[in-house]
């Protein structure tokens, strides 16, 4: 096999500046700089800290749930209602308030301006509002822990009618606060989302064509578009459910007898809610997955010292997944009694979406193939992601088939599936990304040894938690059950498995302390990182200061001459060429090498 030098798109041409640089808003006071900040980097950190903070609450809830499942009849403070409330709050917080907010509000805000070569988001003021509304939504949600009746126990899917019927925990205040909080979240997100989309479209620096964007940006960009289009479905259903609850309309509420009393509702359609919810709910899983895909692509490329395999294919796969994710929602409703032909249709689309997804996995693996791999902590997390994602994707294909799903729906198998694919996989990426970009945010490296310990416990521990859960699902152990009771078909031994899972979950949970300790310690004592510790090509690593200051790029915005993946270019001096480095005549692989 002969090697053709990998061509790449370095050009010595940079288009002239078209527009004047925008006026930057310059805050004078401490409060203006760090509290009411309009700087996307500060907003990013505000978003991240809030999201991780509320995420820790959800993590603690999951331990309590696991304690109950692993050691039933041991903890008197966990009664069935409390258990349901924990399940519901855990799920909703993790999906919306942690992952969505962290990937888009956190990483989106930090990385978009820096990676596209902009000074800031295009609408900084709206961006700031976005964060404060998000914070308000989080506070509303937290408030529901303290109101009479406690938070809602309807499950994160909030299905009516039970979500608003007395008898469900939190059917009064809890559910209202949840719905209102969601509505605020969506309003706040829309403000941020407008920024992310328009900044990518409008504020790219000279030479940064769409096809020179790092895949991280592509992932965040398309995920934001999905979110902007899908969140309205949740918004509409939240409003309608609020009206059913407060005014007594019957959008979703059928005629129903509750606790011996005929209620005033009549004719409403719970399945309508399910359609609306999952029309949002399925895209939501890709709202979380696409940024993770993008970030992983970049982590892998940087640390394999190779260009990403099939860049353009990766971009189109992201777009295809984004489009397809709007026509698979009813695979969450196979057991709702819908027309079998619908089931057939949705099973087909569900399987089709696996194609672009698999394509991405192949490309990651092919990028690793014969790479000059640096097995540092971010890379470990990225590779860990590939494992768990493949794993969860495969169980998804099981569940996508109606006949299989009918048996497995509402069992622990589903829990195992979506935790592999939507909990562990993206969280591994979040952690990898933090190890990767922390040096840019603080100017210091995170400790490597602690990082490796953290990775291995988290990665292996997650498998210890979720692999057995698949098996529990096969046994027929249902999800969202406080206790098994005497279920004749579930063998005794399932209980020992449950105990083991709980222990693994606690170990993984405690291991996160290592991570937080590392974050805090390194902030003060970490090794200084310099501007570009990973020898990466993308623009955020080329800023004049680390951490980047207000305005990001000093006096002049960078000019981009090449794509984001010029690693190990044959004949080049170093094994990476930053995006803003002009091609020097004759340097390897440059302009026209195999035209």
């Amino acid at each position: 096999m002969t090697y053709v030098p990998v061509g790449h798109d370095a050009t010595d041409y940079a288009p002239p500046a078209e527009t004047q640089e925008p006026e930057l808003y310059h805050p004078k006071t401490f409060i203006g700089k760090y509290i009411w900040s309009q700087d996307a980097k500060v907003i990013a950190i505000q978003y991240s800290i809030t999201a991780i903070g509320i995420g820790v609450v959800a993590l603690v809830l999951s331990w309590l749930m696991r304690l109950q499942l692993g050691f039933p009849n041991t903890f008197s403070f966990i009664d069935p209602s409390a258990y349901l409330q924990m399940v519901s709050m855990h799920g909703m917080i993790m999906v919306i308030y942690l992952l969505t907010a962290l990937f888009l509000g956190g990483f989106g805000n930090y990385l978009i301006p820096l990676m596209v070569g902009a000074r800031d988001m295009v609408f900084p003021y709206v961006n700031m509002l976005s964060y404060w509304i998000y914070l308000f939504a989080v506070l509303l949600l937290l408030a529901s822990f303290f109101v009479p009746g406690g938070p809602t126990g309807a499950g994160w899917t909030l299905y009516p009618p039970q979500a608003i019927l007395t008898g469900t925990p939190g059917a009064g205040w809890g559910i209202i606060l949840m719905l209102v909080s969601l509505a605020f979240f969506i309003v706040g997100f829309t403000m941020g989302g407008l920024n992310y989309v328009v900044t990518v479209l409008q504020a790219r620096t000279r030479g940064m064509t769409l096809l020179r964007l790092p895949l991280t940006i592509w992932g965040i960009f398309v995920a934001t578009i999905l979110a902007l289009l899908a969140f309205p479905a949740l918004f509409v259903s939240a409003i309608m459910m609020t009206l059913d609850l407060t005014l007594g309309t019957s959008f979703f509420m059928p005629g129903i007898i509750s606790q011996g009393k005929q209620l005033d509702y009549g004719g409403g359609s719970p399945v309508l809610f399910q359609h609306l919810f999952w029309f949002f709910g399925h895209p939501e899983v890709y709202i979380v997955a696409l940024p993770a895909f993008g970030i992983v692509s970049d982590l892998i490329s940087v640390n394999a010292r190779k260009n990403i395999f099939g860049y353009r294919m990766m971009v189109w796969a992201i777009l295809a997944i984004g489009g397809l994710s709007f026509i698979v929602w009813a695979h969450h409703m196979y057991v709702s009694g819908m027309n079998p032909y619908f089931g057939f249709f949705f099973a087909t689309t569900t399987l089709i979406i696996a194609i672009p997804t698999a394509l991405k996995v192949y490309n990651w693996v092919l990028t690793l193939w014969r790479g000059n791999i640096r097995l540092n902590v971010p890379m470990l997390f990225a590779i860990g992601f590939i494992f768990t994602f493949i794993h969860g994707g495969l169980t998804g294909i099981f569940l996508g088939n109606v006949a299989v799903d009918l048996a497995l729906s509402d069992t622990m198998f589903v829990v195992a599936h979506f935790h592999m694919v939507m909990a562990i996989a993206p969280v591994l990426v979040v952690m990898g990304a933090i190890y990767h970009w922390y040096p840019k945010m603080t100017g210091r490296m995170l400790d490597d040894t602690l990082g490796k310990i953290h990775f291995w416990i988290t990665f292996l521990g997650s498998y210890a938690i979720y692999l057995p859960m698949h098996y529990l699902g096969f046994l027929g152990v249902p999800r969202r059950y406080y206790a098994m009771g005497d279920t004749y078909f579930v063998p005794e031994s399932a209980q020992s498995l449950n105990a083991a899972i709980t222990i693994a979950a606690l170990v993984v949970g405690v291991a996160q302390i290592i991570f937080f300790y590392n974050l805090v310690r390194s902030y003060f004592k970490g090794e200084p990182s310099g501007g570009n510790p990973w020898e990466a090509t993308t623009l955020e690593w080329q800023t004049p200061e680390t951490p980047p200051t207000h305005g990001n790029f000093g006096k002049d915005l960078p000019v981009v001459y090449r794509w984001a993946y010029d690693y190990s270019v044959p004949g080049a001096e170093k094994d990476f060429i930053p995006q803003n480095e002009p091609p020097s005549p004759g340097a390897g692989g440059a302009a026209g090498s195999h035209a």
């Binding site: 050009t11 288009p15 078209e18 902007l228 309309t249 359609s269 029309f279 971009v315 777009l319």
Partner: protein
């Protein structure tokens, strides 16, 4: 959900079409110099960001209304659905909103031509028509109530209130921008400086007119 899917398909067709134009022509690895000339993604972006921002926002609103309409159509299958007699005032309201759109268009054209008087008059008239529309919508609510259709009486009535309120809220948002623009005009801002705001308002009003026509048609014919 078909309605939503159709609406989204249109949105996506636009997005994908645009992306194809941006990307298919460029082959990053082949001949580097093809990037230089006439690459649409590099060549000038004279479009102000705020316009793109509004376009994106209107897309989000489209999704919101399409989903509400889907919900309407699905809920309509219910056995308890009794169509509501549409109050006649809706025709008047529709005319007002249409007129409002025309006035904004007038303001917009005047702004482009630099005629300060036309801008002020167009804005004032457009805002007045919109306020009349909103008052008329409120009147429609009152007359429904008078006829015994409360929010909870019947799903058709619930949806009537829901859809009109959703639309009115969007108009109120527009009126806020309209108000700030008008204040700037009063304070003597040059036509040049408010041209963009007027243009944005105009686009938004046309959009909400179309949304209203769709909603009105839906309420009339179902």
């Amino acid at each position: 959900m078909t309605t939503t899917l159709v609406a989204l398909a249109v949105v996506m067709a636009v997005v994908i079409g645009w992306l194809l134009r941006q990307t298919l022509g460029t082959r990053p690895w082949a001949d580097p110099r093809t990037m230089a000339a006439g690459d649409p993604s590099v060549a000038g972006l004279p479009m102000p960001s705020i316009k793109i921002g509004l376009a994106v926002f209107m897309t989000v609103a489209t999704s919101l209304f399409a989903l509400s309409i889907s919900a309407y159509l699905m809920r309509r299958e219910g056995a308890d659905w009794r169509p509501v007699a549409q109050p006649l005032v809706l025709w008047f309201n529709t005319a007002m909103l249409g007129l409002g759109s025309v006035c904004f268009e007038w303001a917009n054209r005047s702004a482009r031509a630099g005629r300060a008087g036309g801008v002020t008059r167009g804005l004032l008239a457009g805002g007045a028509c919109t306020l009349l529309f909103l008052a008329g919508q409120y009147g429609a609510w009152r007359s429904l109530e008078a006829a015994g259709y409360y929010v909870t009486s019947n799903p058709a009535a619930s949806f009537f209130y829901f859809l009109t309120a959703l639309h009115a809220l969007h108009l109120l948002g527009g009126l806020w921008v309209w108000g700030t623009t008008l204040v700037r005009v009063r304070r003597g801002a040059a036509v040049r400086d408010i041209r963009l705001s007027v243009e944005l308002c105009t686009a938004y009003w046309h959009f909400l007119l179309v949304v209203w026509l769709v909603l009105f048609g839906l309420l009339l014919f179902t």
